[in-house]
């Protein structure tokens, strides 16, 4: 454990409020933990209001209402109103399921700033297959209504091997729907995406082709639609600067009140993640073992320790180091300087091999039944 100097602690800027793990969709790349169904408890409205107030007082300004599906919470409008009164910029990150025009207007009046709608593919058949629910037509309608009511409209499409061939159609769809921003999020392989990796990870050629198409389109729609391209880190040779550094910027609160430095951190062993029902946000952020665990650079091993890029990428992602190396202190194996880089290359080769077989592994969809085998004792 690092034992960082308190004076170096920067305040949180982003608060991700995962209101509920309930979701009508079953996306096989969901970022929720595999054992999510083990945590059915949800914070009360008053708990959430207190969390929002305390984090805002420390300096958090961007607020994401996420989940699961945040619209499953009956008090969402009340929480949005509270967030607006506190001065947050609030983002609703939704599948669009359960969203209608009356709700969109009600949320706008309560002060919601932005709605991000996810679409799984550019065709109904593939969208509905990946989502595990017939949602395609409704999502398109929601996107139209979001735009109609003056919100900035952000369309989010998670990219993987099942839909990467649709890149040109996805770009056209976003433009036709009038998206102000298109987020092309290459799947990050944690949680559900990790167990489905062989079926989801594109080959290098597929990825390069799709990226070239997206970059060319970026120029075509410049000034009209902004395209955010989230790179798939397996094909990089330096790790991502995960969370902008542990405990520097991001604070996630899980539905049951567990406070996390990133939304995957509850997978890491021995962190003893604190709960907002027991501690204030200020205590959690400044004093807790969890948030101080990987602050600074004292915890690093070689090759990170002596690396001149350690202040740029902070050693990469702790969850990825743990997933691949079973050692959360080790260098993110994406890094070409990591002695474990071969593990990433093996994962790429394994996924590629799946494209050669006639019967591919079936996707494991994110639902309560499939979550149960992952429950921890």
């Amino acid at each position: 454990m690092a034992g960082s100097n308190k004076a170096d602690i920067t305040p949180p800027r982003w608060l991700l409020a995962e209101l509920s793990y309930k979701c009508p969709l079953q996306c096989p790349y969901c970022s929720n933990p595999l054992d999510y169904a083990q945590y059915p408890n949800e914070l009360s409205t008053d708990d959430w209001k207190r969390v929002l107030s305390q984090a805002r007082k420390m300096g958090a300004v961007q607020l994401g209402f996420s989940g699961g599906e945040p619209l499953t919470r009956q008090d969402l409008v009340e929480l949005v109103r509270h967030a607006r009164e506190l001065g947050y910029y609030s983002n609703l990150i939704t599948s669009g399921y359960g969203l209608n025009e009356a709700k969109i207007i009600e949320l706008k009046q309560a002060g919601l700033d932005h709605i991000q709608v996810s679409i799984q593919a550019s065709t109904q058949e593939l969208n509905d297959h990946i989502a595990g629910t017939a949602t395609y037509q409704h999502k398109r309608e929601v996107a139209r209504l979001v735009k109609k009511h003056g919100y900035p409209m952000v369309l989010c499409v998670v990219i993987h091997r099942q839909n990467i061939h649709q890149m040109p159609q996805i770009l056209e769809m976003a433009e036709n729907l009038g998206a102000d921003y298109l987020e092309l999020a290459n799947t990050q392989y944690y949680g559900w995406a990790h167990i489905n990796r062989d079926a989801l990870l594109p080959t290098r050629e597929q990825f390069q082709q799709a990226e070239a198409i997206a970059q060319a389109y970026k120029e075509k729609v410049a000034g009209k639609m902004k395209i955010y391209y989230v790179v798939p880190d397996y094909y990089e040779d330096r790790p991502k600067a995960c969370m902008n550094g542990w405990g520097t910027t991001f604070l996630t609160i899980a539905p049951d009140g567990t406070a996390l430095p990133c939304h995957s951190a509850r997978e890491l062993p021995g962190l003893d993640c604190p709960n907002v029902q027991d501690f204030s946000i200020e205590h959690i952020w400044n004093e807790s073992k969890t948030f101080n665990f990987f602050r600074g650079t004292d915890w690093m091993q070689e090759p990170c320790r002596s690396c001149d890029e350690k202040h740029k990428d902070f050693g990469g992602c702790r969850c990825q180091a743990f997933l691949f190396n079973a050692d959360m202190y080790s260098t993110d194996p994406v890094c070409s300087k990591s002695p474990e880089r071969h593990r990433i290359d093996a994962a790429i080769a394994s996924a590629r091999a799946q494209t050669m077989v006639t019967v591919e592994k079936p996707l494991i969809f994110r639902n309560t039944k499939n979550s149960k085998p992952f429950f921890k004792a």
Binding site: M58, Q62, G150
Partner: protein, 90 residues
Amino acid sequence: MTLNPELPLQFSPLHRLQWEEAQQKYVILYPEGMVELNQSSAEILQLCDGAHNPVQIVETLEAKFATTGLGNDIFTFLNIALQNGWIKQG
């Protein structure tokens, strides 16, 4: 998209300009993003209120700070702001 010196400027309805007490500075907020502003940028953007054109913004700020020769810097910043979609014209 080039700046017209005579047309009034508005702050974008898809962004929010806000004073942040914790940071002691103005910021621009937009979907999942934030730009921190220095004092002069904030002064300029606050005048993008639908009532001032670029020439009037220069005049107003030169008067406010009792100085001259701010034109180039202000026009450069307004062009950046326009390209980024923080402000709109016409």
